[in-house]
């Protein structure tokens, strides 16, 4: 068993309106910054023990499917790395 850190990035599917991101973009523009778009995403970091990186990815993928993302509106990515504090 090894300890892995999984990073799950959940973002709205392309084309799904993100009013919070639009509002944040507007606030940056009011502060005088120039930008053409702002996209927001949620990032979750999970530490878990698994036989190998593949097994870790599989488990985290299911976590994203069942809770962290809503498949109707979200896409997500899972990245697996050896945990920084792993022995």
């Amino acid at each position: 068993m090894s300890t892995y850190t999984a990073t799950v990035t959940v973002r709205l599917k392309h084309g799904v309106l993100d009013p919070e991101a639009e509002t944040t973009k507007g606030a940056l523009q009011r502060l005088g910054f120039e930008l053409s778009a702002l996209r927001a995403a949620d990032v979750y970091e999970l530490d878990l023990d698994a036989e190998n990186a593949e097994a870790a990815a599989e488990r985290v993928d299911e976590m994203a499917e069942r809770l962290l993302a809503n498949p109707t509106i979200h896409d997500y990515e899972v990245e697996i790395a050896e945990a920084a504090n792993a022995k």
Binding site: L17, P19, E20, L67, N70
Partner: protein, 225 residues
């Protein structure tokens, strides 16, 4: 018969729902989610509120609580289930109904009276109406924008699963009358069967005559159908 109004941590329309149902002569009681469904449950209402602080997404946490397994099983057996506001978000997140309710287009919490057009009058929740009737019911939500894939939206339409759409007082489906930017002005939809429905507007807030409006009565009466 008893309608179980399921109370999650952070539900806040459960008392209103019980009171509105009682006013209509429908036996109802609040049920704490950890206690499970009472054996004499003949209907289930998922009330409004802010269950679990809307953590992750509105309704996401409550939708994964164990009692929702019981609710899904009861729904499969034909027990009427009505999700209102946060209850609609819970119903959607739990898979009882399709699509998703997410942040209003305005990015603001909106608390106002809206008009709804009855799209399907052949359900327990709308049998007192005619298709095309316009009713007035309040909304109070920050995450009520109905989103769904194009493919699933077409299915909803062809299966007649759209219950209510936001409209103006004459029944026109305009952008101005769409308070949250919902796809197709959708305000409420049906699940796999007519006995399962979710809607963002609050029928229990337009049931008691002394708080303004009674158009919600006929929706809640669906529990008697």
């Amino acid at each position: 018969m008893t309608v179980a109004v399921i109370q999650f941590g952070g539900s806040n329309c459960d008392r209103d729902a019980v009171r509105a149902l009682a006013y209509l002569g429908i036996d109802a009681e609040r049920v704490w989610h950890e206690d499970g469904l009472p054996s004499d449950t003949t209907g289930i209402m998922l009330p409004g509120g802010f269950s679990y602080g809307d953590y992750l997404r509105a309704g996401a946490m409550a939708a994964r609580s164990p009692i929702m397994d019981e609710v899904r099983a009861a729904a499969e057996e034909g027990t009427p289930v009505l999700g209102v506001c946060n209850g609609a978000q819970v119903g959607s997140e739990s898979g009882l109904t399709g699509g998703a309710f997410t942040t209003n287009k305005s990015a603001r919490f909106q608390c106002e009276h809206v008009h709804l057009r009855v799209e399907n009058a052949e359900t327990p929740w709308t049998q007192e109406f005619e298709e095309g009737d316009v009713i007035e019911i309040p909304i109070a939500h920050g995450e009520g924008r109905f989103e769904i894939t194009d493919e699933r939206y077409d299915e909803l339409e062809s299966n007649d699963q759209i219950l209510f759409r936001y409209c103006d007082e004459d029944g026109n489906l305009t952008d101005d009358a769409n308070p949250n930017g919902s796809t197709g002005n959708v305000a409420g939809i049906l699940g796999k069967t007519d006995s399962v429905a979710v809607l963002m507007p609050h029928p229990e807030r337009s049931t008691l005559p002394d708080i303004g409006g009674t158009d919600g009565q006929d929706i809640l009466a669906g529990f008697q159908a």
